[in-house]
Point group: C2
Chain length 242, copies 2
Amino acid sequence: MSMQDTASSGVALWRLVADGIERGIADGRFAAGDKLPGEMEIAETYRVNRHTVRRALAALAERGLVRAERGSGTYVEAQKLAYPLRSRTRFSEIVGAGGREPRGQLIEACDDVATRELARELGLKAGAPLVRIEAIRLADRTPICVSTTWLSAELFPNAGAVFAATRSMTKLLAHYGVRDYRRGATRITAGIVDATDAARLDLALGRPILVVDATDHDLQGKPLMTKHSRFAAERVEFLVES
Amino acid sequence: MSMQDTASSGVALWRLVADGIERGIADGRFAAGDKLPGEMEIAETYRVNRHTVRRALAALAERGLVRAERGSGTYVEAQKLAYPLRSRTRFSEIVGAGGREPRGQLIEACDDVATRELARELGLKAGAPLVRIEAIRLADRTPICVSTTWLSAELFPNAGAVFAATRSMTKLLAHYGVRDYRRGATRITAGIVDATDAARLDLALGRPILVVDATDHDLQGKPLMTKHSRFAAERVEFLVES
DNA sequence: TGAAGTTGTCTATTATCATAGACAACTTCG
DNA sequence: CGAAGTTGTCTATGATAATAGACAACTTCA
C-alpha cells in the first residue's frame, strides 16, 4: 500500500491506529498495566508499517495513556485523567477531550462568612457574606474530585440554586454575565483523604489525594471565586505546560 | 503558517474546513440552493490557503453536497441522501455516514403466499407461506423510503414481531443467525407516488418516486428476502460505483 | 551466558498536504 | 461591451505522512 490514509479521508493513518488502541484501552480489552502487543504485531493487525504504529504509540504516550519500556514492551498506564493546568481550563473540556462524559453533582450549598484568608483571595473584607458550594465532579461515573467553592454572596445571589440547576461552574458564571474567566495562581499539595471525602469520592480510607487551591478571575483580573479541591490521586494526573 | 494541520492532530486541514462547511449546511446556516461564500472569503474565515478550501469543497462536491459553478459561485445542492448501490449496503450505515440518524418504523406485518414471481426470486414454490413486512425508513425525521419485504415464513418464523422489536432488517436476520448478506441484482425504475405511500412518506401527491426491487442473498447465494422499495426521489440520490 | 524478542534510532524514498502566485475561462451586472 | 468577481488550472516549493531496511540497546528467559 502506498496510500497515506484510508480512502483519503483526511485522517492520518497513525491517528486511526492510535484511536483504535485507545478504544481498546477504554473498553477494557487492554487493562491498566497490561502489555500491548508488540509494535510488529500491531502493524500487522492494522496492515501498516511499524513506524506508523510507533507514531501512534508516541501520541498515546504523550498523553500518558501508554508507556514504552525498551526491550520489554509497551504498557497501559494507570488510566489517570490527564488534567492540564493552564490558565483557562474547564473540567468539562478536559474530561470531554478524553472521550468521557463530564458530570457535576451538588452536595451542599450554604451561606458562609469570609475568613481573613478567603477575604484576601476574593478581594473582600473579612466577614463579608459568601456562598459556599460543595460539589463532586465525575468523569463518566468515576468521581474525580470534591471541591469547595466560595463566591461573594453579593455578586452572585442565589448561586447555590443556579449551580444545582446547571451543574457547571462555567454555566453558573455565564448566568451572571461572566463570559470567560481564568485561573490565577494555583497551589497543589497532597494529603490523605478524610472519611467524608472518602465516601464522596468512593475512595478507600487512607488513600492519597491531591489538594488544589485556586482562585478564578475574570478577564479584568477581578476575583470571582476561590476553590479548595481534593482529587483522588489515583485517578488524575496534572499536566503542567513546559 | 507552515504547519500541515492544527496542532498536528492527525486530521488534515482541508478536512476541518470541509467539516465546518458541512456543519453549516446541516444546521441550516447554508440552506439548499444557497450560494456559499467565495473561496477567498472562506479561506480568510478559516485562515487557510484558497487551494485548501478548494480541496475541502472538492470533497464535499464528490459527495454531492455542493456544486461549483464556474464564474458564479459554489452552491449547496438539494440535500439528497447519497445512497451508494453496492452489493453490501446497509441503510443504517449509509444514513449514519451522512451524520444523520437512521430510523426504522414498522407499518404492518402479515402473512402472505408466494406468487409465481416472488417464489422464483426467493427460490420457493408458488403458494409457499411468506411474511410480508411494510416499513418506513427515515434519516433523522425525514422519511426516505417505504419498503415491502417478503421473507419465507418457514425460514423466519415470527419475523414481523422480531422486526417490530429490532426495527432493522440487519438485526432481524442476525436474530435468525444470518451474520452477513449481500444484495443481488437490483432493478430501479421511477414512478408517481400513490396516495398510500404519499401519506407514509409525507410527500405531496404527484411527486416522483424511485422504485427499487432487490433480493438479498446470504454469502452462499441463498435468497433471504426480496424487497420492493419506493424512495422519495427528491430526498435521495443513488450512487452507482464506477 | 546466550538466544530471542522488544523498543530506540538512523538513513532513505515516495506520496500527500499546504502554501503561493499567476492566469485562463466563465458569469454577473451596470 | 467592459469591469469586477468567480471558479478552473497550471507550476513550484517546503513540510509532513508513510513506507522500508538496518542496526543498536535493552529485557526476558531458558
